[in-house]
Amino acid sequence: MAKRSIPEVNAGSMADIAFLLLIFFLVTTTIEQDNGITRKLPRWEDVPQDEPVVIKEKNIFKVVVNKEDKMLVEDEPMELKDLKKATMEFIDNGGGASAEGDKCDYCQGARSAESSDHPSKAIIALKNDRETSYSVYVAIQNELGAAYTELRNREATRLYGQGNTYTAMNAIYKDPKVKDAALKEKLDTRLKKLKDMYPQFISEVDSKTN
């Protein structure tokens, strides 16, 4: 019998099929990356605690926002642009000793007796009204967070040299593409140390209706 050659399959429509799939994926997927300010909420207490924890007035940094989006910091009106500096001065004051009795030897603040004792004791209490707009609230949260980040950055540069800021190290640590275990471990201990030096206490007080 004569050998018959198999006719070649026409692949001309392959491109059309691939284009169709491509367009489908372009339409149904998003490329956006989510960025956000991460915070931890306080635990819910069903019954009020018997003994309320007593915190010294000077260790609390009160930030109140009213329904007209005006801010009151330590009972004084303040603009948003001054908030970061005021917060940093409060945290970094180092006027007394920590709960363990250690003096804050890395603080560069004024060491005033009226402001916070130690960064580990300094608490920021943020209180908002129900009518406060979300954008202002997030802007304030942002400034408060930035104050901590800036202090941690300062200490990171002092301890680990130029370029090794807290932000940069945290970015490398969080990057899933970095697989180097030894590097991650090193960064982890550094980041933990910085977080211990300036632990972030931002308390979001329940808003009251009025």
Binding site: G12, M14, I37, L41, R43, Y134, P176
Partner: protein
């Protein structure tokens, strides 16, 4: 003697399109790997607030739970003028959050649940009352890690 086929004068040879499918497939795979499926269509306005002290949230891992809030968009005016919550594909009341959280937890494995993060996608014009209600419910359900999603502030300096 070898015989040469005489070219028809002036005619260009046709460009080969054989590599076209390969190129398109390459594009296709690129988009398949770098993008994520859209899971919700928005019924509320969602212009996020601006901030710069922000962290990236990895959507590809299964830990993130989304809560949307904002003013209802055109076509959903029946839900009123005030900011409302959107959970999955429904406009909801803060009281329905409990059910939603339980449903979201049921979708995930036991190991992931303690690491779940709630991403609040709230419109910048919403007011804090609604957000406070949401936070209250989250606290009751022990979902303590939250992230106020925002867009990067354009550099002022």
């Amino acid at each position: 003697m070898a015989k040469f086929k005489k070219k028809k004068d002036g005619e260009l040879p046709q460009a080969s399109t054989a590599a076209l499918p390969d190129i398109v497939f390459m594009l296709l795979f690129f988009f398949m790997t770098v993008t994520v499926m859209k899971d919700n269509s928005l019924m509320v306005e969602n212009k996020l607030p601006e901030a710069d002290d922000i962290e990236k949230l990895n959507r590809k891992n299964d830990r993130v739970m989304y809560i949307y809030a904002g003013k209802p968009v055109a076509g959903y005016e029946k839900f009123g003028e005030e900011a409302v919550l959107q959970l999955n594909d429904k406009i909801a009341q803060p009281s329905e959050l409990k059910q939603f959280i339980h449903a979201e937890r049921a979708l995930r494995t036991e190991e992931i649940i303690p690491f779940m993060v709630t991403a609040l996608k709230v419109d910048r014009n919403a007011n804090m009352g609604l957000v406070s209600d949401v936070k209250q419910e989250l606290r009751k359900e022990n979902m303590l890690k939250i992230s106020y999603l925002s867009v990067k502030k354009p550099e002022a300096k």
